[in-house]
Symmetry: C2
Subunit: 158 residues, 2 copies
C-alpha cells in the first residue's frame, strides 16, 4: 500500500475507468456526465435520480432532473451503472458493478451492499437450468436496520 494512499484513490481509479469507457463508447465527456457519475460512484446508499439531482444542485445549480435521468439511462445502457430492483416507485441506482447482494430496510428504504462468495459459487437447483439462459443470481434481504429498530423502541416508550 503506497504512502500516497487516500480513501479517494479508488474513486480516482473508477473515474479514469469511466472516462476510458466513455471514450471507447463515443460518449462525450460532459461536465454533467462526469459529476453525475462521480456522485453516484461515491454514494453507498443507492440514491434515486431525484436524490442525486438534489445533491448535485448545490454545486451545479442549473443541472436539470431530466439530464440526471437521461444520463443514468445512457450509463445503464453502457453497463456503467445499474438500476436496483425495489418495490418502491422511485428507481434507485448504483455504480458498483461487481457481483454483490442487497440488504433493504423496509422502514427507511436504505439499501446496503454485502458480499456472499459461498452463495455466488453455489450451483442453482437443477430444474431451473432448462428455463433459459441465466445471466445472474442475486439475494435480497428485507428487514429493519439498527437505526430504525432503535427509533421504534423510542416511539413505543412514548
Amino acid at each position: 500500500m503506497s504512502e500516497n494512499f487516500t480513501p479517494d484513490s479508488s474513486l480516482q481509479q473508477q473515474m479514469e475507468t469511466f472516462e476510458e469507457t466513455c471514450r471507447t463508447a463515443d460518449l462525450k465527456l460532459t461536465h454533467q456526465r462526469l459529476e453525475i457519475y462521480r456522485e453516484l460512484a461515491k454514494a453507498t446508499d443507492h440514491p434515486s435520480a431525484e436524490m442525486l439531482h438534489k445533491r448535485l444542485q448545490k454545486t451545479m445549480p442549473t443541472l436539470s432532473l431530466d439530464t440526471v435521468y437521461r444520463t443514468l439511462t445512457t450509463f445503464e445502457q453502457h453497463h456503467l451503472v445499474k438500476k436496483v430492483q425495489t418495490v418502491d416507485s422511485q428507481a434507485r441506482f448504483e455504480a458498483q458493478m461487481v457481483q454483490h447482494h442487497h440488504l433493504i430496510c423496509d422502514s427507511c428504504k436504505e439499501i446496503m451492499d454485502f458480499h456472499w462468495n459461498s452463495f455466488d459459487s453455489t450451483p442453482l437447483p437443477a430444474d431451473i437450468r432448462q428455463w433459459g439462459t441465466i445471466r445472474n443470481k442475486n439475494v435480497t434481504i428485507h428487514g429493519t436496520c439498527q437505526k430504525c429498530q432503535a427509533l421504534k423502541k423510542v416511539k413505543k416508550r412514548t
Copy 2:
C-alpha cells in the same frame, strides 16, 4: 386423494382462507375483492394491476382500475398478496405467500416462481446479522427464457 379432486380444489381452498381472513380483518366481502383475489390467485405470471384489470373487465365491465389498485394495496396490508420487486415501472403482484424465489426474463418480463429449500435453510453470512432484524431472504435470477431465446434465433436468421 379424493375422487372429487379437481385442479381447482386448491383455489377453492385458497378462496375460503381468503374469505376467512377478510372476515377476521373486518374487510367486507365485496364482489370486486373476491374476483380480484381469485384472478390473482389463479394467475402464475405475477400480473400488474393493469393486466388484472384487463382480464377482469371481460366479466366485470364496470370495474375501475382504481379499485384494482386500492384493493391490491388493502390485500397487501393484510398480507394476502405481495408486491414483487422488479426494475420496471409497473408494479407486479402475486397471491402466493409461501417462501419462494423468482426467475425473471429480461426480455418478455415474465416472472416465474421456483423453490430452493437448501438455500432457504442456509444461514446468512455472519457479518450481516448485526445489520438489524432480518425478515426474509430471496433470490432473484435474471436471464432470458426459452421462448425469448427461440425468438432471438429466428430474428438473427432474417
